[in-house]
């Protein structure tokens, strides 16, 4: 039977929708046509960046070859929170006004966690628990982090600090991140001993702000870890954003500052000083925890994630390996488990 032309809209509409879905991101990601730069010049761009007031949306996704365990309801204990951080995606809004005032809002579907810093005052608010915890920072103890923790800037600094003979740094091209033209710095480990294939750092061509970090694992097409801005607004955020008053009904607490600066909620609690072996990309960190780590795991999550190896249990992801030895040590590194086992002996 001949097809009536009344079906034409039904044929056209999906095509238009699909075309829109494909071309809009393509237009947004169009090659910005920037002049060529050397790695040195791009790094200088970062170093000379004066842009310290902005707000934006940061997204983090991981593809570590781990099962998605977000449904298991981790996040209560440190290990659960770490696993949750590793396996699921996160969106945060970041507002920064100079080095003293910042606010990070970790967005979850029906809840949100806020870290508000205004000078010496730091508030951590958790909407699902309805708790507000206040911490007072000591006055300028050494250096101040130029950027809030967990942002691309912080990760970029870590990466850049490692730039030495262990790493080959090139400018792999230009791109668009969060609607802004960027240079892509590419870092290739000079060793084969690591699970890291290469990493890229997107640097805003206009402001020098690091906007995105991608880490690619050996033998994996999609990046294993991505954190970066999806939106960036260079206007100074509204001052009221940094003035936090605990809402009525919230449980308000006060926390004494430990040895280190206030850390992000959800980060592994820091214990005794770690031991470091190996070098460069193949560095192995050893942390004596004491006692049987696996036995302390209440949720049974470690049991699920790890597999037994000689002398303990191991967690192997595409990017990072963790070895929990029977004698209570934790070894971790961006290396295969076998190397951790060798380091443990």
């Amino acid at each position: 039977m001949r097809l009536s032309r009344r079906w034409i809209p039904a044929l056209v509409a999906p095509v238009v929708v699909a075309a829109g879905a494909v071309t809009v991101p393509m237009v947004a990601d169009a090659d910005p046509g920037l002049p060529a730069r050397t790695p040195q010049q791009v790094l200088e761009l970062v170093a000379t960046s004066t842009e310290d007031s902005f707000s934006g949306t940061v997204e983090q996704t991981s593809d570590l070859g781990l099962p998605d365990l977000s449904g298991l309801g981790g996040g209560e204990d440190g290990a659960g929170a770490a696993v949750e951080l590793l396996t699921s995606s996160h969106t945060a809004r970041v507002h920064v006004d100079g080095p003293e005032r910042s606010r990070v809002q970790l967005l979850e579907q029906m809840s949100q966690r806020d870290l508000v810093r205004n000078g010496e005052d730091v508030w951590v608010y958790d909407s699902s628990e309805q708790t507000a915890v206040h911490t007072t920072l000591p006055e300028h103890e050494g250096h101040e982090p130029a950027q809030p923790e967990g942002t691309p800037a912080e990760l970029a600094e870590q990466l850049l600090a490692g730039v030495d003979e262990t790493t080959e740094v090139t400018v792999s091209g230009t791109d668009t991140v969060a609607g802004r033209p960027v240079y892509q710095l590419r870092l290739d480990p000079r060793t084969d001993a690591t699970l890291v294939d290469f990493a890229t750092l997107a640097v805003d061509a206009g402001t020098g702000l690091p906007l995105e970090v991608r880490v690619h694992a050996v033998g994996q097409q999609a990046p294993a870890f991505v954190v970066g801005f999806t939106e960036l607004d260079l206007d100074t955020p509204d001052a009221s954003l940094f003035e936090f008053t605990p809402p009525p009904g919230a449980e308000v607490g006060e926390q004494e500052l430990p040895d280190h600066d206030g850390r992000d909620p959800g980060e592994l609690p820091e214990g005794p000083r770690p031991e470091v072996s190996g070098e460069g990309w193949a560095t192995v960190v050893e942390l004596p925890v004491g006692g049987d780590v696996a036995a302390a795991d209440k949720s049974g999550m470690l049991e699920q994630l790890t597999r037994p190896v000689e002398g303990g249990r191991a967690l192997q992801t595409s990017l990072v390996s963790v070895l929990l030895t029977d004698d209570g040590r934790v070894l971790a590194g961006a290396v295969p488990v076998e190397q951790l086992a060798a380091a443990a002996r």
């Binding site: 509409a13 949306t57 029906m110 608010y125 936090f244 009525p248 919230a250």
Partner: protein
């Protein structure tokens, strides 16, 4: 027409019952911090009843009622035998389709409004009312809350538009309204199940239910309208695709009932 029907009012009444049940249950026993989002906040602020009721209604009750309305649009007329008289009147097939879609959209808005308003009223009657704490820990006054609740109603109504368009299309395929309603409701369930499967992450942003629970973004400070926009685009895409499918099907179909 839709609102001249007892069944429509019965469904709205059933939806209104959700916030009432939530409020009464909390009144009888304080749930503490457990249960669905916002539930624990109700005892200190009755206005949260709307939000809890909306959260619990979105996965099932709202799609159910919208499925009934959207599935009934054309198939219902066909089964009553009124479709042929409307067409001979002549109502015009495109016009009839547009009127039916508009009716379904109006129901989506009415359904979301019912839950939000009943929730606010019941909450105000049973619990204290005051400035509302947002997810970010900031508080807004009643005026600011009213604006956000209005946006939230809009968001939820918009969320159901894609499902309505799917239901409209299914409704043009059959003369058995119950079949069209069931198929629409089943699809709403299926979309949510697919949305839960991590293996299908690629298609998640394309499900009409993708942003159903994203209305929480309207309860953050600063106000984030990003997901409202994304949701609107997605739902409009569904409306365009399934609306034109319904048009193709309905304007070429032999009305034999």
């Amino acid at each position: 027409m839709l609102f001249g029907r007892r069944r429509t009012w019965a469904m709205l009444a059933a939806l209104a019952l959700v916030p009432v049940l939530v409020a009464v249950a909390v009144r009888i026993e304080d749930p503490g911090r457990d249960g669905p989002p916002f539930l624990g906040s109700i005892t200190s602020n009755g206005l949260f009843v709307s939000l809890t009721a909306m959260t619990v209604s979105i996965p099932l009750f709202l799609p159910l009622t919208v499925g009934v309305v959207a599935g009934d649009t054309i198939a219902g007329e066909a089964s009553l035998g009124t479709l042929r008289y409307l067409l001979v009147a002549p109502a015009g097939r495109l016009r009839l389709l547009a009127v039916k879609m508009a009716g379904a959209a109006a129901f989506c808005l009415a359904a979301a409004t019912t839950i939000a308003l009943t929730g606010a009223l019941v909450g105000a009657a049973l619990f204290p009312v005051g400035p509302v704490t947002l997810l970010s820990g900031d508080t807004v006054g009643l005026g600011g809350y009213a604006v956000r609740l209005g946006l939230l109603v809009l968001y939820v109504a918009l969320s159901l538009l894609g499902l309505s368009a799917v239901g409209l299309f299914i409704s043009t395929l059959t003369t058995v309204p119950v079949g069209a309603m069931a198929a629409t409701v089943v699809l709403a369930g299926a979309a949510q199940v697919l949305g839960q499967l991590p293996q299908l992450e690629v298609i998640h942003p394309w499900l009409f239910s993708a942003h159903w629970l994203g209305f929480a973004d309207l309860l953050r400070s600063p106000l984030d309208l990003g997901s409202l926009g994304e949701n609107a685009l997605l739902q409009l895409a569904y409306l365009a695709v399934f609306g034109s499918l319904a048009y193709g099907r309905f304007t070429t179909k032999d009305v034999l009932s």
